[in-house]
């Protein structure tokens, strides 16, 4: 796969927290680039800083220093109001759990993004239905989240994350509450939609098997990006349990999208 336009670029991003024993570096000097149409997995052990990194990419958390450029705009320099607008317009997000608004049906949850962006017209409604149908939820459109399985809810969340044509789609452990078969289905669909719609996608996961469908794997450890897997063979090997993610890692590298 050939990606040329960087939708997302981070430069020397640092996130620190004060503690009794001094400053804790949750994310330390992370620079990465993700191109439009590229699906990247961010993996690493618990506490490696991947969720903090994802929160900063989602404009939910400000970095202590560094740049996060989304379509050329630095998220670190936006005020609260602008960050809300950025999340609404340019970012799609799926979470581990509690993804959906419980009193809105599947289609209403998806349409919510269009409502927020003042784009809920006939075309938008049709697109929401088509996207849900594409995700195998044609019969579940008017069901409430409580009437759907975890996998179905995740697929609705994926539709919601994509419906407003965001530049960046983020997924935080999207398969955490799913069985293996459903997890594979969800990530495969997610990946194919990101590729089709030419979005930049980042998935945080601790389950290496889910890397099967991504274009690149970035490994974090102790707040730093420590390794990048680019070749299909390496990624497949990683996903099938052939090697540890943090094995043979060169330190201090800066990772970017392959040209």
């Amino acid at each position: 796969m050939n990606h040329t336009v960087n939708a997302l670029e981070t430069n020397s991003v640092i996130k620190t927290y004060p503690s009794d024993s001094g400053t804790i570096y949750a994310v330390e000097d992370v620079s990465l680039r993700v191109a439009a149409g590229e699906f990247v997995a961010l993996v690493g052990p618990s506490g490696s800083g991947k969720t903090t990194m994802l929160s900063m990419l989602a404009a939910l958390l400000r970095p202590s220093s560094g740049q996060i450029l989304l379509d050329g705009q630095d998220l670190a320099k936006l005020n609260d109001f602008e960050r809300v607008a950025m999340r609404r317009e340019k970012i799609g997000f799926t979470f581990q759990a509690n993804n959906l608004v419980p009193y809105l049906s599947a289609v209403e949850n998806v349409e919510m993004m269009l409502r927020l962006n003042k784009r809920l017209d006939k075309t938008g409604k049709l697109r929401a239905r088509e996207l849900l149908a594409r995700l195998g939820l044609a019969e579940r459109m008017h069901n409430l989240p409580s009437q759907m399985s975890g996998g179905q809810q995740q697929r609705v969340a994926i539709a919601r994350a994509l419906i407003h044509n965001p530049s960046l789609v983020l997924a935080d452990e999207p398969t955490a509450s799913l069985d293996t078969e459903r997890a594979y289905q969800v990530v495969e669909t997610f990946a194919s939609l990101i590729h089709e719609q030419n979005r930049a996608g980042i998935m945080v996961t601790h389950d290496l098997r889910m890397c099967e469908y991504v274009d690149r794997v970035l490994v974090m450890q102790d707040g730093k990006l420590v390794r990048e897997y680019v070749s299909r063979d390496e990624i497949t090997l990683l996903a099938r349990g052939g090697r540890q993610a943090t094995q043979d890692i060169p330190m201090g590298m800066s990772l970017s999208a392959p040209a």
Partner: protein, 390 residues
């Protein structure tokens, strides 16, 4: 701004509709609080009205009492000479004597006797209520009587009927028969329905001690004063107190406040009403606070996907307003339906102004009670709500 109201309205209505059982429950609690507040207000109005109705409807500006009678009508004694002196004061258009006492109205054999306020007035002078049906009283010592609407309702008497009044004369009870010539609107006095007779008739039939029986000079309790120009009330008041000896002058408002037990009764009921509103405030506030606590993750998701704080706040306010409005509407309807079933003896009066004030207060306690939860909703951090914070 338009989008704000559209989205917040959409979210608020959807949530209420999809959780209608839960929201209806709190609406019903608000309805019961509304019912209680409205009934307390109506009871206050009814009891107050029963005490003050005749006085508050008087076409007079002042009530003149015997000096040092503490503005207590039964304790005041004013002779006929005082009325003449009062009428001579410049600025006084008219003055009428008022004698008050009680009497028992003897009804048909199978009915309980009715206790009424027996009021002696001077026909054609201030103090005589206008009839809504029939004729005004004739002058002099007659056997004519006016009954107020409450007396008519409770006794079933009509114009032309004969009223039998039982009073104590010395040590014996006597029956006086009078003819109903007119019916006035509600004119309760001292929490009793009223009947009006000419002052001389009143003096003849009012309960008397043995000593009073042969007393020749009738004595009124108070004198009701109507002014030529009510704007000059202060000047005339001064003139009255300086030119007529041994009197106290009170406005109608002062006279009402001085009615025995009136202020204490009203303040008790007002306090009850206020406390009920405070309870309502806490109930609504508590409900929405608990609801917001249950919705932290959901609000976190909404904020994470780009829902602005004003939308979250407006949706919460709208929900509170809708739920409160439905509750108050149900409560108001229940109060109205209940009121239809009350007999006229129950002192409950749904006065428009009092009820409107209660309803507005009830509608305000919703948003007020919900302020804390709105503040909480606005302060929810999506990062923490979604468990993404380190």
């Amino acid at each position: 701004m338009n989008n704000l109201f559209q989205i917040s309205g959409y979210l608020a209505v959807k949530e209420i509709w999809r959780n209608r059982g839960r929201f209806l429950l709190i609406s019903l609690v608000i309805a019961l609080i509304t019912l209680l507040v409205l009934f307390i207000a109506a009871l206050g109005e009814g009891l107050g009205n029963g005490n003050r109705e005749y006085i508050s409807k008087l076409d007079a500006q002042f009530i003149v009492y015997q000096a040092k009678s503490d503005l207590l009508i039964p304790a005041s004694r004013l002779g006929v000479d005082r009325v003449d002196a009062i009428r001579d004061v410049v600025g006084v258009a008219d003055a009428g004597m008022l004698g008050t006492s009680g009497a028992t109205m003897v009804l048909a054999d199978d009915e309980k006797p009715l206790k009424v306020a027996l009021l002696g007035i001077q026909p054609g002078h201030t103090g005589e209520p206008k009839v809504v049906d029939g004729l005004q009283l004739g002058t002099g010592l007659t056997d004519e009587v006016l009954i107020d609407r409450n007396t008519a309702l409770r006794s079933g008497l009509e114009i032309g009927d004969t009223v039998s009044l039982r009073t104590t004369q010395g040590t014996e009870e006597e029956i006086f028969n009078l003819q109903v010539v007119g019916v006035t609107d509600g004119q309760q006095y001292s929490l009793q329905p009223s009947i009006f007779v000419s002052f001389d008739t009143w003096d003849n039939i009012r309960p008397k001690s043995e000593a009073e029986k042969n007393f020749a000079n009738p004595v009124a309790n108070v004198v009701l004063v109507k002014l030529t120009d009510p704007e000059q009330a202060d000047v005339v008041r001064q003139a009255l107190t300086s030119q007529v000896e041994n009197i106290d002058v009170a406005t109608l408002t002062e006279a009402i406040q001085a009615l025995p037990g009136y202020s204490a009764q009203q303040s008790t009921l007002n306090t009850q009403g206020a406390f009920t509103l405070i309870i309502g405030l806490l109930v609504i506030g508590g409900f929405f606070q608990i609801q917001i606590l249950q919705k932290v993750a959901q609000i976190g998701v909404l904020k994470a996907i780009g829902t602005a704080n004003p939308i979250v706040a407006a949706a919460t306010i709208l929900q509170i307003v809708v739920v409160t409005f439905i509750g108050v509407a149900i409560g108001g309807l229940m109060a109205f339906l209940f009121s239809l079933s009350f007999p006229p003896t129950v002192p409950i009066v749904f006065n428009g102004t009092t009820s409107a004030v209660a309803v507005i207060a009830l509608l305000l306690i919703g948003p007020l009670g919900g302020l804390v939860s709105i503040r909480y909703a606005v302060r929810i951090e999506p990062l923490k709500a979604l468990g993404l914070s380190s």
